[in-house]
């Protein structure tokens, strides 16, 4: 990407808003006892100080099996901070987490799928959002470009080039060749699928479960293909006409 927009005509914008994915460490809280948390975390941080020191973590309260009180949460966060990590968010789920997030001034992050079986990932609200009209992309998605369809499907009537990313909270449909990456269910919808007319993808992901194609399987290469999630397995099959 061009990191510094060149001042052309209008003054350069003060900010750029980008969609980016970063890996984030989760701390799953089974007990709100600050002493125990501090002890265990300190041990972990000491074992790999370069990795854990001042690293951002998000707190997943679901293993606790109940909704923690605000004071309890403050104590937990203090313990995590003293261990050397920086809480940057809460893993979402129940309404109690939402209200805690407001009180603690921390964002709620979408649930990480495999760890949160207790919380249904597909929420009724998202079902309604799925009725949104798809985002249409008629131009090729070129190498280095990224198109994101928020809360809806993405329909690309052209190609997705190598090194390009087509991302949707719903399904991704590519009516040209898919040579880059396709990420469906970007916010955890496990029913999302990827469809393409000519399969040459580098990577396909559904709800965070992904597969990298170092070499294309001959039964899929160049064919119309769909991908879907079957439990934790990402499956691919040619679309038979």
């Amino acid at each position: 990407m061009m990191t510094k927009p060149v001042e052309a005509g209008a003054p350069a914008p003060a900010i750029d808003i980008r969609f980016g994915q970063v890996g984030l460490i989760q701390v799953r809280i089974r007990s709100t006892e600050p002493g125990a948390i501090l002890d265990e975390l300190t041990g972990k941080v000491a074992s790999a100080p370069l990795f854990f020191q001042r690293t951002g973590v998000c707190l997943d309260m679901s293993p606790l099996g109940r909704d923690p009180q605000l004071e309890e949460m403050r104590a937990v966060m203090e313990a995590v901070r003293r261990a050397g990590m920086l809480p940057v968010g809460l893993v979402g789920g129940s309404g109690a987490v939402e209200s805690l997030s407001v009180a603690l001034d921390l964002p709620v992050l979408a649930p990480f799928r495999p760890q949160t079986q207790t919380i249904p990932v597909v929420q009724p609200a998202e079902r309604v959002e799925a009725a949104n009209p798809a985002l249409m992309q008629h131009q090729p998605v070129r190498s280095g470009q990224r198109v994101y369809a928020r809360s809806r499907d993405l329909v690309v009537t052209s190609t997705v080039g190598a090194g390009a990313e087509a991302i949707a909270d719903g399904c991704v449909h590519v009516y040209g060749s898919l040579r880059g990456r396709a990420l469906a269910g970007a916010r955890g919808d496990i029913s999302a699928r990827v469809f393409c007319q000519e399969f040459r993808a580098e990577l396909v992901s559904i709800a965070g479960v992904f597969r990298v194609f170092e070499t294309l399987p001959p039964e899929l290469a160049g064919k119309p293909v769909q991908a879907w999630l079957d439990g934790d397995d990402l499956r691919f099959a040619p679309l038979t006409s």
Partner: protein, 270 residues
Amino acid sequence: MTEIIVVTSGKGGVGKTTTSASVACGLARRGKRVAVVDFDIGLRNLDLIMGCERRVVYDFVNVIQGDCTLKQALIKDKRIETLHVLAASQTRDKDALTAEGVRRVLDELIADGFDYILCDSPAGIEKGAHLAMYYADRAVVVVNPEVSSVRDSDRILGLLASKTQRAEQGNGGVKEHLLLTRYNPRRVASGEMMSVDDVKEILGLDVIGVVPESPDVLAASNAGVPVILNDESDASRAYDDAVARLLGEDLPMRFLEEPKRGFFARIFGG
């Protein structure tokens, strides 16, 4: 009506400067007033290919910084009267280019009545390449039939579709053309090289010219005579066809197949 054409590629060494020089000559030979501007500040090459390196007194950066007038910096070609070269600065770096400065120089060239302004872009996607494409009406994307060049061209096409004035103002965007260079039909036939159709399919664009790989190109560069002026060469004819297509003519593609070798050539090699 002046048209600004950027010659770009992303990848280095694919033939941007060779193409800029030949297309500029081809347009000028057809009676158009042409200015060809080297945007590769710090790695000045266009003047060498055009054979006017010893006549560079002032350059693009001098004009931008007001050290001289545009007229003083424009070098008139000795072979074609309507052709002018604006050389890059060899001693500065790309930060010497500013968007306002480039706009001012282009406006001055437009006011001077040039029909075509060719912007010879540096390799890469940094400032120099960005400014070379920013004000363009059309783009000639030079691509070699190999994967890394095609990938970089795809990247450049993405930038042309988003980081240019025409894209930002939403008035139709920059018109894009592909020009294949270093095309070797024999290696295409043997599967070592991508074919025109492969490149077309991946990039989803039409091809405005296919220039065959030819020793004449290197010889022309060394001699400071754009290869299009060597009428004996296939590369010259291919560039001339591309220029005609740029001007809207519809010509069949040539040099897509290996020339048939005569009986004696087959016997004696050569």
